[in-house]
């Protein structure tokens, strides 16, 4: 592992919750690691498993999908679909040798700026411990 390696973390965030939480974290000055890059989607149900694979193959060291809490999805059940997809994708990735901790699903509501910052810090630490994405090695 080279000394200057810094994690590259992709957060695919639902516009109505996790993305708002990221915004809030910013305005409330809760700091979170600069390794986190947020991509906005209309709903966690919009996240195709292909997005996660593409992120990984293109060098993301960690991928986190952020959606609304159960019952809070603006499109009613996008987040339940996201969870069903995630469970299958997560097991598949594990079989392909990707550490399970590298890919994560979290429910972070629009008012949870602090939770957003905390989860990002923790995820960044986890990825640092794991090291670079094995697809790059």
């Amino acid at each position: 592992m080279s000394e200057e390696w810094e994690p590259n973390i992709i957060v695919i965030a639902c516009n109505w919750c996790t993305y708002q939480a990221a915004d809030l974290a910013g305005s409330l000055r809760y700091s979170y690691p600069p390794t986190v890059k947020v991509v906005r989607v209309p709903c966690s149900g919009r996240v195709e498993p292909e997005f996660v694979l593409e992120a990984l193959i293109n060098g993301a060291d960690g991928v986190l999908i952020g959606g609304c809490h159960p019952g809070d999805c603006h499109y009613k059940e996008g987040n339940y679909k996201a969870l069903r997809r995630f469970k299958l994708l997560h097991k598949l990735l594990t079989e392909l040798g990707i550490e399970p901790e590298r890919v994560r699903l979290e429910w972070i509501g629009g008012s949870e700026g602090l939770k957003f910052a905390e989860v990002m810090k923790e995820f960044d630490a986890t990825i640092r411990k794991l090291g670079p994405n094995p697809l790059k090695r």
Binding site: P49, E50, V52, K81, R85, L88, L92, L96, G97, R137
Partner: protein, 319 residues
């Protein structure tokens, strides 16, 4: 003038060649228009050195069935690519890696360990494993091809002009392809030769074609559990069917005999990663508890979702 035609079996089972032979009298008719210049190792007695001696671009059309696993196969397809004007990845193995491609979930050492030591029928007290070179009687050097670390689809080794799905391709589809080859009526290079319909589109069980609505699925069943109803959509009955995302040039062969589709026809246009799309498709129709059940019942999701396509998947081998 007859078209110069070649067929080469790489890491496959020769089922694709059988599919061509299955055309029977229609193949005999076509043979008037085709001159077989190379068909190894199964049909014609033409040596590799004969192929190597042919002028470049002297073969009009070459079909390859099977994936690329050995150095020998890699060498021959590179030679074929030079000699042939049109090169076709014929069948699931050549087009996507196919069943042999599932070996990418295991290392070369694991495979050798299983094949040469651990199977019930193996008796190998001296622990012999194949070597690429060995000298017999102190003077004869014998060689074997190198066994690569991973299985590849044809286009991952050489440029491919056309892709044909199916394990093997359905003989009616093969008939259309032969006709297209003979008449020169081929689609733009780089494409799949397909009708472009999904297996569901051509499946007699499709609820949409019978004016029924699709329901969410509460229970997942493996094919060994129970006997599916002969009329109803298999997916609706909980048997995981990949008809919605697979090219249907087989005419829904499997659902017609009560077996769910496993995707051998190749991905529908727009499906970049078959396994990822299989997940998306199942997550849309299975209820939460059915997803949990699926994960309990199937020991390997990779072998289910990438049954025919692991080498061309975004993550194409175990890391």
């Amino acid at each position: 003038m007859a078209l110069k035609f070649a067929f080469y079996l790489a890491a496959g089972c020769a089922g694709c060649e059988m599919a061509l032979v299955d055309l029977a009298d229609r193949l005999i008719d076509a043979l008037g228009d085709l001159e077989i210049v190379f068909w190894a190792p199964t049909v014609a007695d033409i040596k590799y050195k004969d192929l190597e001696a042919m002028p470049d671009k002297s073969i009009d059309i070459a079909l390859v069935d099977g994936a690329i696993r050995l150095s020998e196969q890699e060498h021959i397809v590179k030679v074929l690519r030079k000699k042939a004007k049109i090169l076709v990845a014929f069948g699931a193995c050549a087009a996507m890696g196919g069943i042999p491609g599932l070996a990418n979930l295991h290392t070369k050492d694991e495979i050798f360990e299983t094949v040469y030591f651990n199977t019930y029928s193996t008796d190998n007290p001296d622990g012999v494993v194949p070597q690429t070179k060995c000298v017999v009687d102190g003077k004869y050097e014998l060689t074997l091809p190198e066994f690569w670390n991973e299985v590849k689809a044809l286009h991952q080794v050489v440029d491919v002009d056309y892709f044909v799905g199916g394990c093997p391709p359905h003989h009616e589809h093969v008939a259309k392809i032969v006709e297209a080859i003979v008449s020169g009526n081929l689609p733009p290079k780089g494409s799949w030769i397909t009708d472009g319909k999904s297996v569901c589109d051509v499946c007699p069980r499709n609820p949409a074609n019978k004016g029924e609505t699709r329901e969410t699925v509460k229970e997942v069943k493996r094919t060994i559990e129970g006997i599916p109803d002969e009329e109803r959509c298999l997916l609706q009955q909980g048997y995981l069917c990949f008809g919605p995302i697979t090219q249907g040039d087989c005419g829904a062969s499997c659902p017609k005999v009560n077996i769910p589709c496993r995707g051998c026809g190749g991905p529908l246009p727009g499906v970049k990663d078959f396994g990822a799309r299989a997940i998306a498709s199942l997550a849309s129709i299975l209820e939460d508890s059915a997803v949990d059940q699926l994960m309990e019942k199937y020991p390997s999701l990779a072998k289910l979702f990438y049954r025919y396509s692991l080498p061309v998947a975004t993550i194409n081998k175990r890391r």
